[in-house]
């Protein structure tokens, strides 16, 4: 197996893990699955680093291990502990949390079908891209783009705020893989900047979600609809 084939295979594994994150009924389980997905992403960075002989990608793999594999899941699990598992998953008494097992009105099967369509569409679109850096990793590029859209789908289809945060994290993983694929030699400062932004975004969303929970006793996005845009 060549390095580029390995990258394509890892990208496919990322899609499977993201569908697994989206379809699980438990936030705890979703956080753990997200950590596993981040391990896959880190391996992809390392393999890409060898393929392009890019030192920057090894540094990025290190920071991603700290932030995505450990930091983000730990923060989510800490949030769960603060909020209480039962409440976070909508089974607490008197507290509205938004459904998890059947997000919004879309059943899990529907989400998987939507994800499959997104993958197919991205494969078609990326097939027309003629960039030397993308040669050999077009499937991975398409899958990273699809990963981004699966994250967007998760955000718009979930009522639970914590799952919306996870949707954002999926989006970030997709865009970071795209960045690694298309800009393997970008300055370290850029990659650190992008990663730092993503982590700060995640932390800020988690803090905001906690404040919403503390003041409004809800983690259900349907309870946040008084403002009409």
């Amino acid at each position: 197996m060549t390095l580029l084939t390995a990258i394509n295979a890892l990208a496919a594994l990322l899609i499977l893990t993201s569908i697994s994150v989206v379809s699980t009924s438990s936030v705890r389980s979703a956080a753990i699955r997200y950590a596993i997905q981040s391990v896959v992403l880190v391996i992809a960075f390392v393999v890409l680093g060898f393929a392009h002989e890019a030192r920057e990608l090894f540094i990025w793999a290190g920071t991603a291990t700290l932030t995505k594999v450990i930091g983000v899941p730990a923060l989510l699990l800490f949030m769960l502990k603060k909020v209480g598992q039962a409440e976070a998953e909508g089974t607490g008494k008197g507290i509205k949390m938004g459904s998890l097992s059947l997000p919004g009105n879309i059943p899990v099967g529907g989400l998987v079908a939507i994800s499959a369509c997104e993958v197919a569409l991205c494969l078609v679109v990326v097939n027309g891209v003629e960039l030397p850096v993308a040669q050999g990793v077009k499937p991975a590029l398409a899958l990273s783009l699809a990963h981004f859209f699966i994250g967007v789908t998760c955000i718009v289809s979930q009522n639970n705020i914590l799952k919306q945060i996870l949707g954002f994290c999926l989006m970030e993983n997709g865009s970071h893989l795209t960045l690694a694929l298309l800009a393997p030699g970008a300055p370290e400062m850029v990659e650190i900047g992008v990663t730092t932004d993503a982590i700060f975004a995640m932390v800020i969303m988690a803090l905001l979600a906690y404040r919403i929970y503390k003041t409004q006793h809800t983690l259900d996005a349907r309870d946040l609809t008084e403002l009409k845009g």
Partner: protein, 561 residues
Amino acid sequence: MSISTVMIGMVLLPLVLSIVMAALPAKSSKVVFEGMNLASLLVILVCAIILAVPVVNGASMGVSSLTGASGTLPDAATAAGMVAQVGVISPGGWLRVDPLSLVFVCLIAVIGLLVGIYSVGYVRHDLEDGKIDASKVKTFYAFYQLFIFTMLLAATTNNIIMMWVAIEATTLGTVFLVGIYGSKLALEAAWKYVIICATGVAFGLYGVLLVYSNAAQILGDAHAAAFWTSVLPVASQLDPTLMAVAFVFTLIGFGTKAGLFPMHTWLPDAHAEAPSPVSALLSGVLLKCAVLVIVRFYIVASIAVGFRFVSLVCIILGGLSIVVGAFFIFAQRDFKRKLAYSSSENVGVIVLCLGFGGIGILAALIHCVAHAFVKALMFCLSGNLLMKYHTRDLDKISGVIEAAPVTGVLMFLGLLALSGFPPFAMFWSEIFTVFAGLGAGQYVVVALVVIALTVVIAAFALTINSAVFKHKPEGMKTKELGPVVLVPEIILLCVVLWLGVCTPPAVTNTLRQAGTDVQLLISGANGVQGVQDSDSVQSVEIPVVYDQDGIATTPAAGVTQ
């Protein structure tokens, strides 16, 4: 101290102050936070003025040497090379201030300081009212400085990926300011703000990456390809199909932050629920920073794809923002939401102007400046109303001119300025918009826009009639707000009037240089003479004339002098 040190210091100072404020105990006197905030903003303004001198002088010299006596336009590569050399650049090329970014740096510096002064009175009032406690005062000023830092970074960064990072950071730096009151609605607005903007701006990253990747392939240097000044000279060699996709992604991404329809939905919620000084900065300056990044990619896409495609996308999104925004402005009874929809509508005007090309580019820059000052003024005035009437509901606000005469006069004149009445600055930019549209042959679009702007005038005229005039509520005493609140508002109104009546030469020169740079780049690539894309001639034919010094200018720039 070198000029690039001044630039770096200007950008980093608010970040340092933000960290220092965050480290101070919450029980520290509010005067400490106010003093640090104002001192920092004053230093930033001084730095911006110091930067302006070499940037404007250097730009003039560059353009004149290129256009010279022949009066012919340079080709894309020559123009790009010249524009890339103009301005102040930091060691390593990470930060850069050219005439285009200077416009936005000055907006941040001037409006940041004036709104900072206004904040003193507003935050003290909120503290006395019990809306916030001492710890929130610290939060407000620490995040205010962080907000200024992120905007300065967005305006000065020369690295295209850092442009995305900076715009994303503006969201993260302001989300706690939007939700500072901690009420249900404030937290809801903050949540929508962060989730919509973070998701939307992520689309921008894809656009940036496509540009970067394609540039890296052509330049053969992965590090250089991240810099806008390196991408610009090779923009004509970028893959047109990829760049078309990249431009759409960047317009969606950064357009979300700018408040373009249909990605504008965060804007009325966040603007309405945030403290009024924050709304003033969000609408007055932050939206313009996103516009600056759009302009950067608009230039690259115009060169790579051809102006026709870029123009079409801008006209569609800009036109829709104006038309939809106008009717929302008319329907709203919440004053701050009305102003927020007006922001979406005015960003639409700016993007539409970019779509028209020619003098539209200058009109877009003038509109950026004029709208920034007017909207900062109006959101500060909305704070006056909140302090006086304790509501944003226009059905409950009447007789402002009786209840608080100075605020009433400011509101009357401010609403006239926002409606685009002469002699205020927005009148000129809207007139140039119409001229640019007619020049580009977009008669139907111009007709629709004029109708929409008439609806806006009607909406604000009704607001003037009901809120400013009529009688004040029974039992309300006539009492004006303090000078700390009123003085910055009076200065903002004076600036709006000054820009409309007799624009200072320094402002005219900066705007003209910035507009000319963009025009030269686009016309150089699409070719007013020797056109590559013959279909785009009509759109890009720019009425460029050359003054006695050989400086490229336009009739519009002449009018504003």
